[in-house]
């Protein structure tokens, strides 16, 4: 077995037993990147030198008896998490040469625990997209099948983990951007409760929806990474002071006493037959593990895409106002006036999808339209939140598909942004409600593409999610299942 094939949990044992060093493990991943990334295209930057230094430091800490579970483990980071001294592009030309002078809190936390960062991975520009095709640099490929998208916006996180270029990755999820690529690439993707993980140093897309979370090759690794990144941060005033469980303690066999809700609206029109079959099988696995199932209703599901594209775009139009070419990022140096500098910089620096969302958001917030669009959407958001509150009165968590179909081919939605927006219908409401969700590999389509199963829980019940996800994984036998490349 090559070291890069290990899960985080397995690597931990090997490192602690002295069977392998962090340097060997890191070199194994870096070699893997060299041999497969020309085809997979996960990485925007590979930080070989830094990674080897971190690995050597980790080896010293391990020799000295550190108990940090992530010490010496190689990770990739979505390229919108600020890394001190390492280019952070957000997949955008406007930040092509931006080198942050500080680390995001989650990056700092991982570094303090001795983790190794092998590089920064591709994503849709400013996390706006569902295929990573909106990346201004390289577009990651689905490691399971040539010509198919890895999903997005954390496409490079998912492809780098599935292609075994690293043992885990941090992504961000604003409307499904962790869970959807995890599902399309056959890995585990967790979107924590809003406020569970610090957003400090996560370049903002939609501040009331964004959340950082892990992509891993099994559920145990997801719990281990959650332990490493969760917690209140005084530098993020929206992070929540909430007791932190040991997430790995939830990984026990058997679901007796657990009630799983099946939201009927998630199994409606447009759901691919093979996806439905995989989720049905997942429901049966949970039943066989001792859980009870109950049908529930989320009556406003059909409105979530509309609400999302108004709220997310409104917040984005405000957040992205900062890219003006004045103090960092790309600037059009030919502009003669300040106003022209703003316009030329933004027009040349932003890609098509980002411009579209800025326009929608600016419109929804503009004088005369605020009540009809932004306020209306925020009111319907309340109704969506209430749907979940009501559903959780009769169950502990919800099971559903992650996406209506398995991965699709590049360019499938070219020129029709709305069609692509609608593919996010099953993941968006978790962000609007701030609840946690996880995507767990459930099976494969006849074409050999992975299909994930989504579990969503009440606020701060990542432990329940992980417990059910762990049992689901035991039933499918798909832990650490990776493609031949």
């Amino acid at each position: 077995m090559n070291p890069f094939e290990l899960t985080i949990g397995q690597a931990r044992t090997e490192l602690d037993n002295g069977n392998i060093s962090s340097r060997e493990l890191t070199i194994s991943c870096l070699d893997r990147i060299k041999s497969v990334d020309k085809d997979i295209c996960s990485f925007i930057s590979v930080t070989e030198g830094e990674a080897l230094k971190q690995a050597d430091a980790a080896d010293k800490q391990i020799a000295a008896g550190t108990t940090d579970p992530l010490c010496g483990i190689p990770f990739s980071m979505k390229d919108l998490l600020c890394t001190k001294g390492v280019k952070t592009t957000c997949g955008s030309k406007i930040l092509e040469n931006f080198v942050p002078p500080y680390d995001a809190t989650v990056v700092e936390k991982l570094k303090n625990q001795g983790a190794v960062i092998v590089g920064k991975v591709a994503m849709d520009e400013f996390a706006m997209g569902s295929t990573s095709e909106n990346c201004a640099f390289n577009v990651p490929r689905n490691p399971w099948k040539n010509g198919y998208v890895a999903g997005g916006s954390s496409g490079g996180s998912a492809s780098s983990v599935a292609a075994m270029e690293c043992l885990g990755s941090l992504g961000s999820d604003t409307g499904g951007s962790i869970r959807q690529p995890a599902s399309l690439c056959g890995v585990v993707g967790m979107k924590p409760t809003y406020g569970r993980v610090s957003r400090y140093g996560l370049v903002a897309f939609a501040s009331s929806l964004d959340q950082v979370g892990p992509l891993t090759r099994d559920v145990t690794d997801s719990a281990m990474m959650m332990n490493g990144i969760a917690g209140y941060d005084k530098r993020d005033s929206t992070s929540v002071k909430q007791a932190l469980p040991d997430f790995t303690a939830s990984l026990t066999k058997g679901l007796a006493g657990m009630k799983i809700g099946i939201p009927k609206e998630y199994f409606g029109e447009g759901l691919d037959g093979e996806v439905a079959e995989v989720v049905e099988n997942g429901i049966q696995i949970l039943r066989d593990s001792g859980a009870e199932t109950v049908e529930v209703s989320l009556p406003h599901t059909d409105y979530c895409v509309a609400v999302y594209y108004l709220i997310a775009s409104a917040e984005a139009s405000s957040n992205l106002a900062r890219y003006d070419g004045a103090v960092y990022g790309y600037r059009d140096q030919n502009a003669e006036s300040l106003a022209d500098m703003y316009r030329e910089t933004r027009s040349k620096g932003f890609g098509d999808e980002v411009k579209r969302r800025i326009l929608i958001g600016t419109y929804a917030l503009s004088s005369g339209y605020y009540d009809a669009y932004y306020k209306k959407a925020s009111q319907v958001r309340t109704l969506i939140l209430n749907d979940f509150r009501k559903a959780y009165e009769s169950c502990d968590l919800l099971i559903s598909p992650v996406t209506p179909t398995p991965a699709w081919k590049y360019g499938a939605h070219a020129g029709d942004p709305l069609a692509l927006y609608l593919s996010d219908i099953l993941t968006i409401s978790a962000n609007l409600a701030g609840i946690p969700g996880i995507s767990v590999p459930g099976g494969f389509s006849s074409a050999g593409l992975p299909i994930g199963i989504q579990l969503q829980g009440p606020h701060f019940r990542e432990d329940t999610l992980l417990k059910a996800a762990f049992n689901l994984e035991l039933g499918t036998g798909l832990a650490n299942k990776c493609p031949e490349i």
Binding site: N97, F98, V99, P101, Y102, G195, S208, K234, S237, T238, V240, H300, D302, Y303, A306, V307, Y309, L310, A321, D324, A326, V327, Y328, G329, Y330, R331, Q333, E336, S337, L338, D340, M341, Y342, R343, R346, S347, K355, R356, I358, L359, I360, T362, Y363, S366, Y373, K375, K376, A377, S378, Q379, V380, R381, T382, L383, L385, P417, L418, A433, G434, H459
Partner: protein
């Protein structure tokens, strides 16, 4: 039509974006179809529904007013598109 070419021009101006003729035509069409889609929210009666702008109602998050280290000037200027060693340089404003 939910949005006209003129309104897209107005919004682009507010957002400090220059759109080419091709972009303007394409964006007007795409924004129109997106806004026509989101109009489905009008099916819902939301009188008296309190808007949610934030899932958890965190009020002002205060901290002690203490001196803290700030970013040194040379580091702050490292990403400057143009600087004079002391400050950011932009085109003449006045």
């Amino acid at each position: 039509m939910k949005i006209t070419r003129k309104e897209v021009e107005h919004v682009a101006n507010l957002a400090r974006l220059n759109l080419t003729e091709e972009e303007l035509i394409r964006m007007t069409g795409q924004l129109d179809s997106i806004l026509s889609y989101v109009a489905k929210l009008d099916e819902l009666d939301t009188t008296d529904v309190v808007p949610t702008t934030h899932v958890f109602s965190i009020n002002n998050a205060f901290r002690e007013d203490e001196m803290q280290e700030s970013l040194p000037r040379d580091e702050a200027l490292l990403n400057a598109p143009r600087d004079n060693g002391e400050s950011f340089v932009v085109p003449k404003i006045i």
